[in-house]
């Protein structure tokens, strides 16, 4: 930044996806395992961003359109960084990975693929995901992989806000009217079967000790804060059985195909187009 800006608007100096792309162009290459891990992180953020973007123009008030749109853009930023970094293992760009992979090649969790439902269900999904993601990123900042740590450090401040947004709405809907309480409870019940998948360890996590965060370690702090929030919101932790999920493999919920069709159609109809 040069000169004095009258409005004092500055972009700040956090790590951007473009910085990572530059390092990749300069020769940074990562292992298949690290790339696979970065894909999981990036795909969760990407698919949830795509889901949340639907709310723009459809939320209860324009202020909420903006709040959810803002959260979606934050997540898209995380996805861009993680996918750019992952792509260095295969010589692919963030766009190659976002627009040209097919459904079985995605590594998103079932939770982020779940439909938006009503506003309460979206808030329930946000509550679960942002509590999980906050615990995840707050440990990923200590990763032995400096790039993953730097992406997490930037993203953590954003997720802190996503978490607050979800908690505030959970309190208001849960402890609001009879109808808002009913909807919030129903929303929690419908996303709950997909919670366990977020906290499952597997061989990739074992191989990446020191680099990856062990998902199972996040469960206790997640449960503690969630119970506290739900208690204050006069709600209970759902007693719903876990669903069969894809465990970060090639199997996905029936929703992902539709999400990708919408997300990828323009890029695929006009390959290489820029604007």
């Amino acid at each position: 930044m040069s000169g004095e800006s009258a409005t004092r608007i500055t972009p700040g100096n956090a790590l951007r996806p473009e910085d990572i792309a530059e390092k990749v162009a300069a020769g940074t290459r990562i292992s298949q395992d690290v790339a696979e891990y970065a894909l999981r992180l990036g795909d969760d953020a990407l698919i949830l961003a795509q889901r949340l973007g639907w709310w723009i123009s459809r939320a209860p008030e324009i202020e909420e359109d903006i709040a959810l749109g803002n959260i979606a853009l934050d997540l898209l930023g995380h996805a861009r960084s993680f996918l750019t970094y992952a792509g260095s293992a295969w010589g692919k760009t963030e766009d190659d990975l976002a627009y040209w992979r097919s459904e079985p090649e995605f590594r998103s969790s079932f939770l982020v693929e779940q439909p938006n439902g009503d506003f309460a269900k979206t808030i329930a999904r946000q509550l679960v995901f942002s509590l999980y993601q906050y615990e995840l990123y707050s440990r990923l900042v200590n990763s032995a992989d400096e790039t993953l740590a730097a992406i997490a450090a930037k993203a953590l401040k954003e997720v802190d806000y996503h978490r607050d947004h979800a908690i505030q709405w959970t309190l208001r809907l849960g402890d609001g009217t009879e109808e808002s309480h009913r909807r919030m409870k129903s929303g929690l019940d419908s996303v709950w079967p997909y919670v366990d998948e977020l906290f499952a360890d597997d061989e990739l996590i074992d191989r990446l000790a020191g680099v990856a965060v062990r998902p199972s370690e996040l469960r206790a702090p997640f449960d503690a804060l969630l119970a506290q929030v739900l208690d204050e919101a006069t709600l209970q932790v759902p007693e719903v059985q876990p669903a069969m999920t894809g465990n970060r493999g090639s199997q996905h919920s029936e929703h992902l195909g539709y999400i990708l069709a919408e997300m990828q159609v323009i890029a695929r109809e006009h390959p290489g187009a820029t604007w």
């Binding site: 202020e63 803002n70 208001r172």
Partner: protein
């Protein structure tokens, strides 16, 4: 904001109807040492959400270090039709400005 909004400020959860969220006026302090400056207004169900909405609407490009939100209904505004009585009567009264006065001889340190 010429007139104060008549919408009552509701407690959390009480505004069941769509479109019944009260109006809030937003003030942003852009840097330490400067005053909060009126930035605009927004709707929110209560004060806590108003501060959050203000953050999303008015500080997403590093514009601020502090935010105030005030229920629009709490602001009492001057009447735009009373411009003459309120704001035009000082016209021609130059003696209300320091520059009207000449420096007296022999007065030091002015």
């Amino acid at each position: 904001m010429a007139t104060a909004a008549k919408t009552p400020v509701t407690e959390a959860g009480q505004s069941a109807n769509r479109g019944s969220w009260p109006l809030w006026e937003v003030f942003v302090r852009s840097a330490r040492g400067l005053s909060h400056v009126h930035a605009g207004s927004l709707h929110a169900p209560d004060a806590e959400m108003a501060v959050r909405n203000a953050r999303d609407l008015y500080t997403r490009r590093n514009e601020g270090v502090s935010l105030w939100v005030v229920p629009a209904s709490a602001i009492v505004a001057s009447d735009p039709d009373a411009k003459g009585a309120f704001f035009e009567s000082p016209q021609g009264k130059d003696y209300r400005h320091a520059m009207y006065y000449k420096k007296s001889e022999g007065v030091k340190h002015l």
